[in-house]
C-alpha cells in the first residue's frame, strides 16, 4: 500500500494540519488501511465498479471535478457529501457479499438520474 501512503502524504501537504493529524492517527492505528479513491463529475463516478472483500475495512476518498455531489450506498445505510475542493472520507466494512448500487443523491443536472455505479463484495 505504498502508493496510498505516498498519496496520503501528498494529501497532507495540500489539506492542512488538522486533517493531516487525523490521517496520521488513522495510519498508525491501521497501517494497512485500504483507501478507495472515487472521483465524481457530471454524470459519472470513476471508478463506477468497485470490488471489495467482505469484512475488510476500507476508506473511501471522494472528490468532485465540478459541482457538489453525493455518494449514497443505501444497502449499507451510508452516504457522504462530495464537496468541491475537498477530499471527503467515508469508512466502510462490508458485512455481506453481493452487488450493491451506489448513486449520486444530490441533484446535479440533466443526467443526474443515471449517475450510479456498483460495489461488488466477495
Amino acid at each position: 500500500m505504498s502508493v496510498d501512503v505516498q498519496r496520503r502524504r501528498m494529501l497532507c501537504a495540500s489539506t492542512g494540519i488538522a486533517l493531516c493529524a487525523a490521517l496520521g492517527a488513522g495510519l498508525s492505528a491501521r497501517a494497512e488501511e485500504k483507501v478507495i479513491r472515487v472521483s465524481a463529475r457530471k454524470f459519472v463516478f470513476t471508478p463506477s465498479e468497485i470490488a471489495l472483500k467482505k469484512g475488510e475495512p476500507v476508506v473511501f476518498e471522494f472528490t468532485t471535478q465540478d459541482v457538489f455531489m453525493g455518494f449514497n450506498l443505501p444497502e449499507f445505510k451510508t452516504r457522504s457529501d462530495i464537496v468541491p475542493g475537498k477530499v471527503m472520507r467515508m469508512p466502510l466494512t462490508p458485512d455481506r457479499a453481493g452487488t450493491f448500487t451506489f448513486l449520486c443523491d444530490v441533484f446535479c443536472g440533466d443526467g443526474h438520474e443515471s449517475m450510479s455505479g456498483k460495489i461488488v463484495v466477495t
Partner: protein, 295 residues
C-alpha cells in the same frame, strides 16, 4: 357543483379506468356534513424534454392532457400539478423559458383553481428561485370542503431534504389540526424509502411521516416516479401518479431506472393523469387513472 360517490363511480365506469379505493381507518366525525368533491392530479410533465425514443410527442402530450381534463364531464373542484413541470436545464434563461411556456399552456385549463408544485427538475439547481418567480411559494396549505391540504417541498434542496425550517412550519401547521382532521399531503418525492437506490426517497421524509402519524386521516399524493404506486406507512396511504412525458420501470424491477421506450403500437401507454374523489363520509379517496388519449 358537487357529485355523490355513486354518480362519480358511474362516470368512472364510463371511462373504463380502474378505481383504486383508499380506505382509511379511524373516524372522521368532524367531516359529517361536508360535501364530497373531486380534484385532478397531473404530474411530471417535464416541459422541454426531448427524447424521441421515449416520447416523440413531447410537446404534444401536455396539451392533449389539458384538453382531456377540459373535456371531463364533471368539472373537478381544482387541479394540482405535483412537480417536474419542466425538464431540468443548467441554463437559467432556458429554465425560465420552459417555466413560462409551461405556465402559458397550463393557463389553457378551463378550471382556474390550480395548485402548482415544484419537482427537482424545476427547482433543485437554483433552490427554487426561478420556479418561485412564476408560481410563488414552494410549500403552502389550503383548505377545501373540510380537507386540509399541505403541499410539502422536498425538491428545492438538491439533497432531497424538506429541511429544518419547513419541518418546523409543518409541525406548527399540524399543531392547529384536530387529530381526526382530514389531511392530504401533496409532495413530489416519496416521503418514505420507496427505492433509495433509484433516488426515490426523501432524506428527512421520515421526520414528516412521524409528525403525521398521530393524525388518523392522512393520505399522501405524490409524483416523481412516473407511475402509479400505492403503499402504506402505518395507516398513512401514499399514492404516486403517472407522468405526462415517459413512464419509468417499477421500483427495483431492473438494475437501472431507464425510461420505458415509446411503443408505436400503444402510444401514450403508461402516461396519464388521475381523478381523486374525496368522500367525506368515511374520509375515503377513490382514485381513477385516466389516459392522455382515449383508446
Amino acid at each position: 357543483m358537487t357529485i355523490d360517490r355513486r354518480q362519480f363511480l358511474k362516470l368512472s365506469a364510463l371511462g373504463g379506468g380502474a378505481v383504486f379505493a383508499s380506505s382509511l381507518a379511524g373516524c372522521a366525525s368532524m367531516s359529517a356534513g361536508e360535501p364530497d368533491f373531486y380534484f385532478v392530479q397531473l404530474s411530471d410533465t417535464h416541459w422541454g424534454f426531448s427524447g424521441p425514443a421515449v416520447n416523440p410527442d413531447a410537446r404534444g402530450t401536455l396539451p392533449k392532457a389539458i384538453a382531456a381534463v377540459n373535456a371531463l364531464s364533471v368539472e373537478p373542484d381544482f387541479i394540482v400539478f405535483t412537480g417536474d413541470l419542466t425538464h431540468t436545464t443548467d441554463d437559467p434563461v432556458e429554465r425560465r423559458k420552459r417555466l413560462k411556456e409551461f405556465k402559458e399552456i397550463a393557463s389553457g385549463l378551463k378550471n382556474k383553481t390550480v395548485h402548482f408544485m415544484a419537482g427537482e427538475h424545476d427547482a433543485a439547481l437554483d433552490n427554487g428561485a426561478a420556479w418561485k418567480e412564476f408560481f410563488g411559494e414552494t410549500h403552502y396549505t389550503f383548505d377545501h370542503k373540510g380537507v386540509h391540504f399541505i403541499a410539502v417541498d422536498n425538491v428545492s434542496d438538491p439533497a432531497a431534504r424538506i429541511g429544518e425550517e419547513q419541518l418546523a412550519w409543518l409541525k406548527a401547521d399540524l399543531a392547529r389540526q384536530p387529530k381526526d382532521a382530514r389531511i392530504v399531503v401533496l409532495t413530489h418525492r416519496p416521503l418514505f424509502d420507496l427505492a433509495p437506490e433509484w433516488d426515490w426517497a426523501t432524506r428527512d421524509g421520515a421526520q414528516a411521516i412521524d409528525m403525521l402519524m398521530p393524525f388518523s386521516n392522512v393520505t399522501v399524493f405524490y409524483g416523481h416516479i412516473h407511475q402509479e404506486n400505492h403503499q402504506m406507512t402505518g395507516h398513512i396511504a401514499h399514492h404516486s401518479a403517472k407522468s405526462l412525458i415517459f413512464p419509468l420501470p417499477a421500483p427495483k424491477s431492473q438494475p437501472k431506472r431507464d425510461p420505458i421506450k415509446w411503443d408505436a403500437a400503444a402510444p401514450y401507454r403508461g402516461l396519464g393523469f388521475r381523478e381523486v374523489e374525496a368522500e367525506a363520509k368515511d374520509a375515503k379517496y377513490d382514485i381513477k387513472e385516466m389516459p392522455v388519449v382515449k383508446a
